[in-house]
Symmetry: C2
Subunit: 291 residues, 2 copies
């Protein structure tokens, strides 16, 4: 099976679970249910769940065992996008080629939709906790990644340095490591935790570097991408003089940095026993992505 | 010990734990930490933690056992106030006599502060899960109360019916039961769960009625209260023609309804063995509160 087929297979497996989850949502009023489903069903690469399932395969952990953690992570990711797109945050009118949640449902409902997804992610995780201590550890790892020492710290720093023209590298690293890196680390470390701890540190480093790579390619796409394939506003960060890797390193410098990070990701994978092909190709895919 | 002394004792016991929690917050950037602490340390009645500790005493459950659940509930309550005060929600500039979180830190940071408190509440709850199955059940109960079938459903309905002039009673009940009732039910049911289930249903009914009572007295205070003791804008709901119990029942009708609910709360307490004095007085306090 080639990379695209394999990606599609993971994607389908996850989307079936997500669709099932959406179909079972039964909350009132309708606008709450609709706003939750809108952002979940809008699509996207689902790279976090795909990473989670693929890492489980690499480590020989049953995919079924990690599935609800993949689901919770995607819910957390989706809530963060909804809140990030709000006018008082990144102020983005488009997401995945469609109007942002607050453009469809209004900002108040978008705040609540985000809150609702975050809360529901934890309802899912708490249910997993009944299965044993390692499941509690996995849930705690996700919580640490998503919280005030993880993703939220990164978002806060991003907001703080929005108009910072000093463009210093340690701040950039802090933002990328936390804002993007932590929630890409969670889905690769959860299978390690549920697999008894094998390759825990290696996969943690892999997630961090993949996160930085992902964010830098995002910055490059902001300059070179096309709305049609990207599905969100182009040149926005650049136009706003935002504190990004392109501002810090220049466009060519950012590309070089992306190459270094991709190489580091591959090097970590080299050290792990098992069928690494898919994840190696996934690194290339992130490096060369068009959306 | 009279009611006020006892309330003060519970309050001090909880505030010491909360202060310790705040002192140990070590997240970056500073604005994130400061915004979290600002809303937590601003004070307030802490009625949820006080209810939790008092119910533990009533049922003979160690207060230490419920303390982190009281803390998590107060974090969730505080996040909901921060998001509720946002311009796109209730648009309130004052909370507990001080400027709302977003007036001090900006709306973007206020969104993140709320997200951060919700996430941290779950970090606390996940840690509790290691102590045993009944702790997981208690955490799940809080999650259900706070989530899309609980508080968030109530907030969503409240937002939806903001300008609804039909003022129908079932909708009002749905909003009050979920928006306010659920998160007042959690702190009285958690001790029941951790105490082996005794009085679970009774305390669930008590929490629901106390929540409705609390919300109706809030509506009455919006008309009759004073800024000095209330610490938030007065007459705002009334001026905006908001969908409240006063709009549905009239001011005198709302007072009658509050009396009925207070009586129902007392009746539930009558059926529970133990020292109920404090909770009975707490019901009177909520009925007659000036802030």
């Amino acid at each position: 099976m080639d990379f695209n087929e394999k990606y599609g297979a993971y994607l389908n497996e996850f989307n079936a679970v997500l669709q099932d989850f959406c179909n079972n949502l039964d909350c009132r009023p309708d606008i709450l249910k609709d706003s939750l489903k809108y952002s979940l069903e809008i699509g996207g690469k689902r790279i976090r769940p795909v990473l989670c399932l693929a890492t489980a395969d690499l480590l020989g952990v049953e995919r079924k065992k990690v599935m609800n953690f993949a689901l919770a992570t995607e819910l957390i990711h989706t809530y963060s996008l909804i809140h990030d797109d709000l006018p008082e945050m990144d102020d983005d009118d488009f997401r995945r080629g469609k109007p942002s949640n607050h453009k469809v449902f209004g900002t108040g409902n978008a705040v609540l939709a985000g809150d609702g997804l975050l809360n529901t992610a934890y309802s899912i995780l708490l249910k997993e906790c009944r299965k044993g201590t390692e499941f509690i550890s996995a849930a705690e790892f996700i919580s640490d990644c998503a919280g005030i020492y993880g993703m939220i710290a990164g978002q806060s720093a991003d907001l703080l340095h929005e108009n910072d023209k000093s463009f210093n590298e340690p701040t950039l690293n802090f933002i990328y490591e936390n804002k993007t890196g932590k929630l890409l680390t969670a889905p690769v470390v959860v299978p390690a935790i549920l697999g008894g701890g094998r390759c825990y540190s290696e996969l943690k480093a892999f997630g961090r570097d993949l996160g930085a790579l992902f964010q830098i390619t995002d910055d490059i796409l902001d300059i070179e991408g096309e709305f049609a394939s990207l599905g969100k506003s182009i040149g926005k960060d650049c136009k706003e003089g935002k504190f990004t890797s392109v501002a810090v390193y220049g466009l060519d410098g950012a590309k070089l940095r992306a190459d270094v990070l991709a190489e580091r990701c591959r090097a970590v994978l080299e050290g792990i026993d098992g069928n690494r092909d898919f994840l190696v190709r996934l690194v290339d895919y992130v490096r060369n992505r068009k959306n």
